[in-house]
Every structure is written in C-alpha cells, then in structure tokens.
C-alpha cells in the first residue's frame, strides 16, 4: 500500500514505540500534522519550540525512553537549538523532527527556510536532511538507533515538505539500521580487568566518582555492590545525584564547585579515584593543576573520547559500566578501609556546624530551608525538576534523592528556563509520580508561557519559585569577584500568584518558614497544578564555593554562626 511520507513518519514513530511528541505546527510541517490525526500519538502543543525540546528532554530523563520533538522549518527549527545543545551536553536520547521547505526551493532563501542541518550540526549527535519519501523510514530507524546507542544524544531529522507529501511503499524490514553499529565498542580485555583489580587492591583511600553514566547504564546495583564489598565511599556529580541513594551510608554527597567540603577534601586526599560514567567537567575538578594529585585514576566511560580528555588517567576503559563492573565484582576482595572512612567522618564532623539546617531562621525565609521542607514533606519521593542557578545548587544540597531519574536538571549547558517545560515532559513520562518544579524568579520568567501548556494538558505539576529578586548566582559571583557591583542582576517579577491565576492555576506567596510549610502541604493536597512564590532572603549565598579556576579544596565556606560555644567546639577557621 502506498503511504505518504507524512504517514510513513507517524507509522515509523508508532512502531518505534513513541506515544507522545512535543511540538508546534507550521507551514513546512503541515503534511505531517495532517497525518498525525490518524495515528495513536499524543501531541503536546507547546507555546515555544524551546519548551518542546526541553519537554522531550525531561520526558527522556524521567523515563529513559527517547524524547521526540517536532517543529516547522526556519524559526521553528532554530528555536530548538538551545534544547538540542542541552540534551547533547547531558547525553539525553532525543529525536527532533523538523519540516523543511520543498526540495526544489532548497538554497533559494525561500520563506521560512534555514539551513537547519547546518545550524544544528554542532549541537546534535547526528542529523539528516531527507528529501525523498522512501528515505524517511530508514533515516528515522537509524536516528533512533543513534540517539540511544553508546553515549545517548539528540538527533535531528529535517524532512522537506515534498518528501512528506510524496507517496511510496513503506519497507520497514528493509529500513533496519546498521550503520550505527560502526560506533560499537570492542569488548573489554582481560588486561583491563586485571589492571583495574591491581589498582583497587593497592588502594588505601579509594573513592568512587559516581556520574550520570550509572543511570544511563543501569549500573546502580553493581556500583552499590562494588562500594559495599570494598567499603569504598562514593561522591556524586550533579547529574549523578539519585544514581546512588542519598542516604546510603557510603554516599558522601555531591562534589565540585558547590559540593560538600568533606567530599572535595576527600577527593584531594584519595589515592584512587574510580570515575564511573562521569567526565571530569571543570565544575567538578576546580583547577586541574592541583586536582587529586595523590590519586591514581580509573576512568570507565561509554565515550572513548572522554578518556584522558580533561584529566590524565592511569586506566581508561571505554565501555558499558554495568558490563565492566559485572566482570570486576566476582574478583573483588573485601576491604574495610576503616582508617580512610574514619578520616572522612572527621572531615564531615568539622563541616556539619556550618550547615544552614542547624542555623535559626529568626523569622526569615532561607531557600535552603524551603528545599529541606520540600524534601521532608514529600518524603524524598518526588521528581524534582530544577532550573539553573542558586536554587539548583540548594536543591542538589538539601533535597536527598534516593532513586535514579528523580532529579532532572540541566547540568552541562546550564540552561535557564529548563525547569518548567522539562517538568511537563517528566510528568507525562511518569504520571504516577509527584513532580515539582524548583526554579528561580529569573529562569522561570524565561519559559513561563508553558504554564498554559500545563493547563491545556491537564497536568498536576507543583511549582516552587525561589524568588529572591536577583539573578542570584550571578549576583553571588558579583558579590565575591566583582566588588558587589550588581550589574543587571536585580530583577523584577510579576505577581506570580496573580499570574498563575490568569492561567487558571492556584497559588500562594509566602515569606516565613511556617507559611512555607503550610503552602507545600496545600500544593500537595490541591488536585490541579499549584504555584508557590517563596519570597526568600535576597542576598543569600550558596556555600561552600570553589571559585572558578581555584583548587578543589580552596573553598569559600559559610561563615560559622557567631556563637562562642560553636566556635569553641570546632576551632575551625572562618
């Protein structure tokens, strides 16, 4: 039977297991939108294509499935660019489908024509320009294979209007992809296993650096078994949060620029770092000149180009973490590392007094207290989707995630405006889960039109705006490194509660801790979406902080509360 290219597109997506796409129609994608009505696929109509890309991203992060976004040519496609870059940096499997002007108009500067494959080349894992209906099925099948394979990432398929309209036979079997297998990795060698075991046996102060790769590889059980057998403590990257349970006794917490002081100190004192699916980003290493000088390094990553990219390693293993750990586990000996764990405990104890949880609020509202209360009241079981900035770091520090895929956050690209749309995608992927947006007043205003998408789709998502009247993280840098010259960081916001009301969303504004707790309870009890405007301390700071380019243990620490008893107890420097 002859099908149009547009029908083949949806037929293939259904067969590839897609049930939801996020998108926005337009001229060059009209044939596809017409055919969509005949296929069992939920289309989420967004308010801006950037929102669609982040929704597909959030959907993919929450479910592990490929997120699909669809847009028209020209501006529709260019609006996807930020979302694609975001997905590429964080290794998120996504397929973007864009309409393109008719093939005979290509290169003529036709209406809404843009060189989409050119524009998106550096922000996709691969992309395609399809000009013939018979190429749609093989390209789509390959696109999904590429998006999922190895280190996942976004793939874009640009389909000309005439390719969508032309009729041809669908040859599903003949469209089976093979080219992606070129990028398959060879099996591990015995030498690599032996070398890893030797390094592990010789280590007195080992530390696991737990990254996003644990989640992507499904290696949580293997990592926990490794840690338990060898009594090796774990530190997580931002995207590694949730990959191993926060409350696990060997999980020290987050490393890096705003990581816990004892974690960064432990990295600097370790004699073996086991980097599991992470990439030694500059935000977790500080200056490389002084990074983990005493440590041998084993780096296991699915992406061979990551090995030795930032940090020279003693053993680099390109491959699947779970498969490699399965080889290691039966060979591991028990260690107790009593001395090393004791040393870390001591580091932890010295830092605990600086924890804001032990500080009184004195009637004021601190963002860290809000996040702590949110964690307590949701019993740590919600999917939290953050934006980018101070609130993101407070979330990472004070919401303790026990499950993989429960923190959804823009790590590598640091995309403000990510939270709200990504949360919509996450809720659609996991309707059974409580989903919270945690965003700043700045980032929220970047993509807030998606509130209407939330309402149109009938989704129950709760929104916490950490409102301090500043672009807080930039303000913090200005405070520390630019002599408090607050250039363009004070930001006005609308009355978020009234704004929510205009969208048909209930809301509350709160400025004390008691009211904050009640508001979280109200939001959770409310049947529909709920927005809370938390008016927090305006010039609060995320501690600790490793200044960009400084050594990992050269942290700016939170001032200790000036009570003599506490100072006497610790004797620590301020």
């Amino acid at each position: 039977m002859q099908l149009s290219g547009a029908q083949i597109l949806w037929e293939c997506l259904v067969r590839l297991g897609v049930d939801t796409v996020f998108g926005y129609p337009g001229g060059a994608i009209l044939p596809a939108y017409d055919a969509l009505l005949d296929y069992p696929i939920r289309h989420v109509l967004v308010r801006h294509e950037q929102g669609a890309a982040h929704m597909a991203d959030g959907y993919a992060r929450a479910s592990g499935r490929v997120g699909v976004v669809i847009a028209t040519s020209g501006p529709g496609a260019t609006n996807l660019v930020t979302g694609l870059a975001n997905a590429l940096m964080d290794s998120i499997p996504m397929v973007a489908i864009t309409g393109q002007v008719g093939s005979r108009l290509l290169g003529t500067d036709a209406f809404q024509e843009v060189d989409v494959t050119g524009v998106t080349l550096p922000v996709t894992k691969h992309n395609y320009l399809v000009t013939r209906a018979e190429d749609i099925a093989p390209v789509l099948r390959e696109a999904f294979a590429v998006a999922r394979q190895g280190r996942p990432g976004p793939v874009l398929v640009d389909i000309t209007k005439d390719a969508q309209q032309a009729k041809t036979e669908l040859d599903w079997e003949g469209a089976e992809p093979t080219r992606h297998l070129r990028c398959s990795l060879p099996a591990f060698t015995e030498e690599q296993v032996t070398a890893a075991l030797d390094l592990i046996r010789g280590a007195a102060r080992p530390l696991i650096l737990a990254g996003h790769g644990i989640e992507l590889s499904g290696a949580k059980e293997q990592v926990l078994a490794f840690a338990a057998r060898t009594r090796t403590p774990m530190a997580t990257t931002l995207l590694g949060i949730g990959a191993v349970p926060a409350q696990h006794p060997l999980n020290l917490g987050m490393m890096g620029m705003h990581g816990e002081a004892w974690v960064n100190q432990a990295i600097q004192e370790a004699d073996l770092l086991l980097a599991f699916g992470m990439r030694f980003d500059d935000r977790v290493t500080g200056t490389l000149a002084t990074y983990a000088q005493h440590a041998k390094k084993i780096h296991i990553d699915i992406d061979p180009a990551e090995l030795g990219k930032n940090v020279p390693v003693d053993l680099g293993v390109a491959g699947d973490l779970r498969a490699f750990l399965d080889k290691l586990l039966p060979e591991l000996d028990f260690h107790d590392h009593r001395e090393w764990l004791g040393r870390i405990e001591a580091l932890k104890g010295a830092a605990a007094v600086r924890d804001i949880q032990s500080m009184p609020d004195e009637g004021r509202l601190f963002a860290a207290h809000v996040i702590h209360d949110l964690w307590r009241l949701t019993e740590g079981t919600a999917i939290v989707v953050t934006d980018v900035g101070q609130h993101q770091m407070w979330e990472a520090q004070y919401y303790h995630h026990e499950e993989p895929r429960s923190l959804i956050t823009s790590g590598g690209l640091g995309t403000m405006g990510f939270a709200l749309p990504a949360a919509l995608g996450a809720k659609i992927a996991r309707p059974d889960k409580e989903v919270w947006v945690v965003a700043g007043d700045g980032g929220f205003q970047m993509t807030m039109p998606e509130l209407m998408t939330l309402v149109q789709e009938g989704l129950k998502v709760n929104i916490a705006i950490i409102n301090n009247g500043y672009l807080g993280m930039v303000r913090q840098w200005q405070e520390f490194f630019y002599e408090r010259r607050y250039s363009s960081t004070p930001i006005l916001s609308p009355d978020f509660v009234k704004l929510a009301a205009a969208f048909g969303i209930e809301g509350l504004s709160v400025s004390t801790r008691e009211a904050a707790v009640r508001a979280i309870e109200t939001a959770r009890a409310c049947e529909g979406p709920f927005l809370i405007d938390f008016r927090v301390e305006q010039e609060d700071t995320v501690f600790p902080m490793v200044p960009a380019g400084a050594a990992l243990d050269a942290m700016i620490r939170r001032p200790i509360p000036a009570t003599p008893s506490v100072l006497a107890e610790t004797g620590a420097d301020i």
């Binding site: 550096p122 990028c183 060879p186 180009a305 498969a323």
Partner: protein, 179 residues
C-alpha cells in the same frame, strides 16, 4: 607539532562539513586537508594535517571516530609512512630565461605540463619542504601562480598493520530503557 590523520568516511554530501566542523569546534587548526575517493566505492579518504601535540591528535581522532559517517581514523604520524604533496607552478619564461627556468625545474624533478609564449607550468610532487624550495628557487624568474595540495599520506608496510579502529561486527548492550 603537525600530525597527519587519515579518516575514511562515507562519500556523502555534508561529511566534509561534519569533519571540519568537529575539528574547529574542538579548537584544533587544520593545516591542510586533501579529500578524494578511497579504494572502496562510496567511501572518501580525508588526509588532514593538524597542529597539535600527541595527546591532542589522539583526542581529535577519538572525536572523529564518534562521527557516524567516519569508518576509521589512523594517525599516520605515529608510524612510518609516505607523505607527499603536489604543486603546479606557473613561471614567467620568456626566451631569455626559459632555459634557466627549465633547469631549475629539472633539478627538482618537476615536469613541464604546459608551455605558453612567455610562461611554463611545472608540476612537482614531494615533501612540503621540497615544494617550498622549488617555489623559492623560481621566484626570481617570476612565480606567477602557485597551486599546491595538502598532504597525501599512506602507512608503509603491509596492510594488516592498518587496524580499523571501529569494529562493525559487535553490537553493544542496549541502554537500560526501563526505570
């Protein structure tokens, strides 16, 4: 130092753009690039000279290998190899100096490939240094045009030493798709 990378790629529109875009994005400079069909139909061979240390060259190769359209990458500067450049040179050659121009050409084993009333075109292949030396030697006579290629390179020795870095025969375990 300069490193010679040879990439075998699909012969498809846009592949050259993908390769050069990647090298640029990773902040490396391409000294020269020569592209042509490879031994198997449907594939191209790109010979690239990149200014970098050894680690950098390996990084470029590792990134290139991740491109879907790249079949394999070799770093030829790490092994004995033959490296050749080709140049065409148009030199002013009126009757008064023509004999001297042709002598210089002969000294460099350049071929005369075109003769006009007052100029000749010479063809020369060899190392980059040899071609530069020929161009310098001809300059006093009036070097009117110079067209030179980037490097062409091939490993010395028998073929089995050329190990394909990407192996199509093994599939990889799929992603953990469920939550």
């Amino acid at each position: 130092m300069a490193h010679i990378l040879v990439a075998t790629t699909d012969d498809e529109p846009g592949v050259l753009n993908r390769v050069t875009s990647l090298v640029r994005r990773r902040a490396f400079n391409i000294h020269s690039l020569t592209v042509g069909p490879a031994e198997t139909s449907g594939t191209s061979r790109m010979t690239m000279v990149v200014e970098s240390d050894e680690t950098g060259a390996r990084r470029v190769a590792a990134h290139l290998e991740k491109l879907l359209n790249v079949l394999r990458v070799e770093i030829l500067s790490e092994r004995p190899s033959v490296v050749r450049y080709l140049a065409l040179l148009r030199v002013s050659a009126p009757a008064t100096t023509r004999g001297q121009v042709l002598l210089v050409g002969q000294a460099f084993r350049a071929q005369v490939v075109d003769v006009a009333e007052d100029s000749v075109v010479l063809e020369c292949s060899g190392s980059a240094e040899k071609i530069s030396a020929l161009a310098d030697a001809l300059r006093p006579y009036g070097l009117m045009e110079l067209s030179r290629t980037g490097a062409l390179a091939m490993a010395r020795g028998t073929l089995p030493t050329v190990v394909p870095l990407k192996r199509p025969e093994v599939d990889y375990p799929p992603l953990a798709m469920s939550v």
